[in-house]
């Protein structure tokens, strides 16, 4: 009755529709690329948390400077890992500002960021933060130390380390804290196990886990200081505690190798680390990398502050702790499943 010919016709018309759309798409991408040549169009691909800081603070601020005059910006915000994959997949980018260095290194491997991106005054970083404990208003369960997190009856919320690149900071903060207190690697593994015994819910991202915490679940959320500050600013009801030992979260920024406006891109990166740029970041809850802008009152330094190098650096850490099959976390999470199953 209706031969395959008709079916092929359908496919052809479908292809035609796509083709038409493609013409439209081609025009759009070429025109937006073209207008870049004149006034300097920059594409910023960043992780999601600093969106407001960039959109409402840094970009307008940069445009007012002589280097930034006439510059137009295209911006993209999303999960750090997702964004890195997008750039890898061909998203035309001039500046990347991601959540952790390994995500930028992925781009180095793909040839999209220069190998020496971190060889500057700031080691390639633009903002800092620290891992903190977000607690209910008034801290009713009196949670102050890492040991408190393993107390019976304390419900801990933290994202899945395998789906949230940023969640790895939380775990390394815990590991480093143990080391700072003189514990051996075996003991710190024990600690992690005890900690995760108190974790009932895992979310796929830090933002989701904040939402879960806000939704009424948990006594304490392991989070970043800038997110806790940001949430407070937006009226979320929480307090936060900086534990004595915690990790310094360092967020990288870099220019891409195929940036169409490399000069302006570099100028923008310089601006983010200028006094004005750093002050803007501080307003949004980020610790500045520029010492002169640092405010010890707003951003107190805990006595046991350390960085990722202290616990072995990212490449080691990723292998030892976060390998999805053989890593320490994989072991802990799968055993956890077994013991809590039925």
């Amino acid at each position: 009755m209706f031969p395959l010919r008709v079916f092929v016709l359908a496919l052809a018309s479908l292809a035609a529709v796509i083709g038409l759309a493609a013409c439209g798409g081609k025009d759009e991408s070429s025109s937006s690329g073209g207008s870049g040549a004149g006034g300097g169009s920059l594409t910023l691909v960043a992780y999601s948390t600093p969106q407001e800081a960039y959109q409402q603070g840094l970009i307008p601020g940069f445009k007012k400077t002589p280097d930034g005059e006439g510059a137009t910006f295209k911006q993209s915000y999303g999960g750090s890992g997702d964004q890195a994959r997008a750039v890898e997949g061909g998203l035309p980018t001039d500046v990347v500002a991601l959540s952790l260095a390994p995500d930028v290194n992925k781009l180095v491997d793909a040839g999209l960021v220069a190998k020496n991106w971190h060889q500057d005054k700031f080691q390639g970083f633009v903002t800092n933060s620290v891992v903190v404990f977000a607690v209910r208003k008034g801290n009713p369960k009196n949670i102050k130390t890492w040991a408190d997190l393993t107390r019976p009856g304390v419900d801990v919320v933290t994202p899945i380390p395998f789906t949230s690149g940023g969640a790895k900071w939380n775990i390394m903060a815990a590991v480093g804290a143990q080391k700072k207190q003189g514990r051996s690697p075996a003991q710190s593994e024990q600690y992690l196990k005890a900690l995760f015994d108190n974790v009932e819910v895992q979310d796929k991202s830090a933002r989701d886990s904040l939402q879960t915490f806000e939704g009424g679940k948990g006594d304490v959320l392991i989070a970043y200081e800038n997110e806790a500050l940001g949430a407070q600013k937006k009226g979320q009801e929480l307090d936060y505690v900086i534990p004595d030992q915690t990790i310094l979260i360092q967020n990288p920024i870099a220019v891409t190798t195929d940036a169409r406006n490399a000069e302006t891109a570099k100028a923008f990166i310089d601006y983010t680390r200028s006094e004005e740029g750093q002050k803007t970041f501080a307003d949004y809850g980020y610790r500045p990398v520029l010492k002169s802008v640092d405010d010890p009152q707003k951003f107190p330094d805990p006595p046991g502050l350390f960085d990722i190098g202290y616990v072995g650096g990212w490449s080691d850490v990723n292998d030892v702790y976060f390998d999805p099959e053989k890593g320490v976390m994989a072991g802990i999470l799968s055993k956890k499943g077994f013991t809590t199953e039925k």
Partner: protein, 243 residues
């Protein structure tokens, strides 16, 4: 075709690590648990939908009550909402801060609930058009011959609706198998307990193991394919039996 090329790409990517690598990831306890949970819940959800979807379609087509038009209109809405909204809504209504005092969050029930929410329209909308077209003469004849409504339903209406129900069930099952956004916030994502396959897959992706993610996806798809074929066979058998 638009469809086959990307799927082929996924299948090819999954063999990047060789057959060994493929097998290791797919048979890891966590992956197996996630696959089992996903398929089991998807089947249950599909069945629940079959029953309730048909019931709702029946009420919407044959029944009359005030507000029916409104209900009919909003059936598709959960489906049109971005999954994050579905997530937030369910968490707020049926989680720790529930105004109704109902807290099923972070359990397998929550996973089922989220999936039921986003698959609601499928069986309903599959059965409705067929019900509209259904020849009522057969039912009228049965009635005049003394058959009770329930028998008439079971022996006359239901067999005619079966293909439509199964079509809707297939859709519901397919969606439930791949769903992530609406489940992820309310399920708790605990490995072996409430972690669905799609979350596990994302974990693989983020850890840089794209081949592993592709492998599990391929297996999931393959298993889903089997179920869909079964559903189709059921429908075919039902049809043969019919005439």
């Amino acid at each position: 075709m638009i469809v086959l090329i990307p799927l082929a790409a996924v299948a090819v990517k999954s063999t990047e690590n060789g057959l060994d690598g493929f097998w290791t990831v797919v048979t890891s306890p966590q992956a197996l648990a996630a696959l089992k949970l996903t398929l089991a819940v998807a089947v249950i959800v599909a069945l629940i939908n079959a029953v309730f979807g048909t019931l709702i379609a029946w009420v919407l087509v044959r029944d009359r009550f005030r507000g029916k038009g409104v209900v009919n209109a909003i059936i598709d809405l959960p489906f049109a909402l971005p999954t994050i909204v579905a997530s937030l809504t369910l968490l707020a209504l049926y989680g720790p801060k529930s105004p109704l005092g109902v807290d099923v969050a972070y359990t397998r029930v929550a996973v089922a609930l989220a999936l039921l929410f986003v698959t609601l329209p499928f069986v309903v909308r599959s059965v409705q058009p067929v019900l509209h077209e259904l020849d009522r003469d057969m039912e009228a004849a049965a009635e005049s011959l003394g058959a009770r409504p329930r028998t008439s339903f079971r022996r006359i209406v239901l067999p005619n609706l079966l293909p439509a129900i199964l079509a809707g069930v297939a859709l519901a099952f397919a969606r439930a198998v791949g769903e992530i956004g609406s489940v992820v916030l309310i399920s708790g994502n605990l490995p072996f307990k409430t972690e669905v396959a799609s979350v596990f897959i994302i974990g693989q992706i983020e850890s840089g193991s794209l081949a592993g993610a592709a492998a599990v996806s391929t297996v999931l798809l393959f298993l889903a394919l089997i179920v869909l074929v079964l559903i189709n066979l059921l429908a075919w058998y039902g049809r043969r039996h019919d005439r």
